[in-house]
Symmetry: C2
Subunit: 407 residues, 2 copies
């Protein structure tokens, strides 16, 4: 087999994560080791930068700076929400050909995998040798084939720590607290809200996921019951919760404002939190009801990263370069979980990862559809790694002297 | 002077912070060293626990557990929103007397200082020796006399890191991003949003504080101008921003729902963020507008703490015990800034700290009322300490081959 000589092109698409630059830097540094790689380009703003030939020459980037970018959250090469169709991908291919790109690595979710699939097809049709590798990334953890997605573990860690803090706050000043977590179709991130629970009465006490229809009356009943039991109640709800017809709950409030993809806008608004608050206020006699929407902070907060997520993100980037350049393969880098806990990397077919997404399996959700199972916790814990622990005062009670009635 | 023998009583009031337990543990461990201290009690839920005699005997708490609680955010002895009047304080005093409490340490804001002041007066009237010390705590940084308040530095660190992350996210996927930060009357926390800026075009680009009247037309103009300059715009706004008549801006949206103190509810709702979003959408042609309300996460997030804040919170607790037990004094522990940067602790009069709060001085706010000054940054940096840094890709641009027009 002759060696395929030419340029490497790397790009990042979709929503940023805390570790997406690890994958970028893994792919770049590994690619720079091969003599047949003539240059390593990075496209600005994902595929949009490719069709506009907005490239930076990453062969002339210092290693030190690349390492510093690797630990910086959000897409260092900037991103795009463009969702390329066949014509768009033909343009991507045309530009790749013009620049003698022979290896294209695209870091993103299932849309990015689909772009890889189509560009790969175009190159085959044209008889132009182009290795195309999709590098997985998403905080939603909703890609097919792979056991989990780089980016998810760090976002899950943020969510777990945020709820652990909210739980302590709510314990000090009791009431109902609702935290809205990202995730349009998959509830993995919302489900992770329970990971830093320590004491049996710690919140979240209820978790609502997009995988199960959200029923207002059941919700109010759940909250009442938890409040009665704990004297307070902490709720984690996914921004993507839907009713039994599949309509986003938030659209009851906003009238369903659409984003650039024609989807109902879920993030960047406090609407769902305020709506769930109003359900509790109307349906119970509880006075102190507060809702926070975690928003963009959960995917880009500077200074909260899972160590495991960090190195796995790095490795999927490196593996992309190795699969393409050593082995002349196309595909999507995927993670297989082995033992408890180790991983190995393999290459999935682009067509198996492209377009479609997964949801949480039934075994991860409890029967009532308002919490997660131990199986989920065992699945997610290694991805998040060590969490800060909390402690409570455990001193004995003092006997009353005045025996006053409770005010 | 004869030694005053009796019990120590410690309590925590108001909103929790990330380091309030350091003050608790500082006061408890220091108090336990004195032979004249017969027991160290902690009241559950602040003054509410005192009038109900809900005490834990912290003399029988292990040192290890106290140290573990010290690094746990939120009020380990739980908190209260009760704002005691004279009759309430008489009850507090009566219970203290019944339990032979001779030293009362109350960790909280200006309301807690006022409680200390009145309880101290009651003990003097009754001729009962009771040392009363207020230990400062607030994320708003709005206490009088002291240079700054323990709890603020850690919250400021969270806000700075959240905006640094949001800035990176917004740079990758440009638009307008609005982050709503806590602080009813004082803008210190909102102002801290700029601390982790590194590159000249980093956000936040605009900062709106409760100290300056918020004008909708000026706001829209400011956003337009910043968007034109940077192709994106990041805004930090205090939840407490008011119009020129002093009416909370958020009440234009909510109709002014009141909390238990009769104040307009600011936290735990996305209303202000959504309102400011609508101002931008209506007043400009910018399509991607997102708003996050940081909410309770900013004061209780598990795992984001300023080291300086942490040890200062510990020290004000220790100093409370020392001032009271070694020196037989009443007052509010205050911090004096010396050199650049060191502190010393002194005792302020309770009446100088009680009730009233401060705001940001004029020298910390720019002339247009939409940003902070270098003087503010110099004031706040030592309190927050080291922040994670970010780096950008700095590789050279590649020359276009196809010379396509920008799509």
């Amino acid at each position: 087999m002759s060696v395929l000589e030419g340029k490497v092109l790397v790009a990042q698409g979709g929503g940023p994560t805390a570790v997406i630059n690890q994958s970028l830097v893994g792919a770049v540094l590994e690619s720079r080791k091969f003599p047949q790689v003539t240059r390593v380009y990075g496209a600005l703003h994902g595929v949009n930068g490719i069709i506009n030939e907005e490239f930076l020459d990453l062969t002339e980037e210092t290693t030190h700076n690349l390492e510093a970018v690797a630990v910086t959250p959000s897409s260092g090469m900037l991103s795009t929400r463009d969702k390329p169709d066949v014509d768009y991908c033909k343009e991507v291919f045309r530009v790749c050909q013009a620049h003698d790109v022979r290896y294209f690595f695209y870091i993103g979710g299932n849309d990015s995998a689909d772009t890889c699939r189509i560009v790969n097809q175009e190159s085959e049709k044209a008889g132009y040798e182009l290795r195309v590798i999709h590098i997985p990334k998403t905080i939603d953890n909703d890609l097919k084939v792979t056991d989990h997605c780089p980016g998810f573990g760090s976002a899950a860690k943020f969510v777990a720590q945020a709820f652990a803090g909210a739980n302590l706050d709510n314990r000090a000043l009791p009431g109902v607290y609702i935290g809205i977590v990202m995730g349009r179709h998959a509830g993995f991130l919302t489900a992770s809200s329970c990971l830093a629970r320590r004491y049996p009465d710690d919140g979240p006490h209820l978790i609502y996921l997009p995988e199960r229809p959200f029923k207002k009356t059941q919700f109010v009943q759940d909250v009442k019951k938890a409040y009665q039991k704990y004297g307070r109640c902490i709720i984690a709800a996914s921004e993507g919760i839907v009713d039994s017809k599949g309509t986003a709950i938030v659209s009851q409030f906003t009238g369903g404002e659409k984003d650039s993809h024609g989807n109902v806008q879920l993030s960047g608004t406090g609407a769902l939190g305020d709506l769930l608050s109003s359900f509790v206020k109307e349906g119970t006699s509880i006075k102190r009801v507060r809702a926070d929407t975690f928003g963009y902070v959960q995917r880009s907060f500077l200074g909260c990263v899972s160590e495991v997520d960090q190195y796995e993100a790095r490795e999927v980037g490196e593996k992309a370069a190795q699969f393409a350049i050593w082995h002349n393969l196309d595909g999507s880098v995927a993670i297989r979980r082995i033992g408890d806990y180790a991983v190995e990397y393999f290459l999935a077919k682009l067509s198996d990862v492209a377009r479609h997404s997964t949801e949480m399996p039934a075994k991860f959700i409890n029967r009532d559809g308002n919490y997660v199972t131990e199986a989920f916790k065992n699945y997610v814990r290694p991805l998040v790694g060590t969490l800060p622990t909390v402690r409570r005062i455990a001193a004995p009670k003092v006997k009353k002297i005045l025996k006053r009635k409770k005010k």
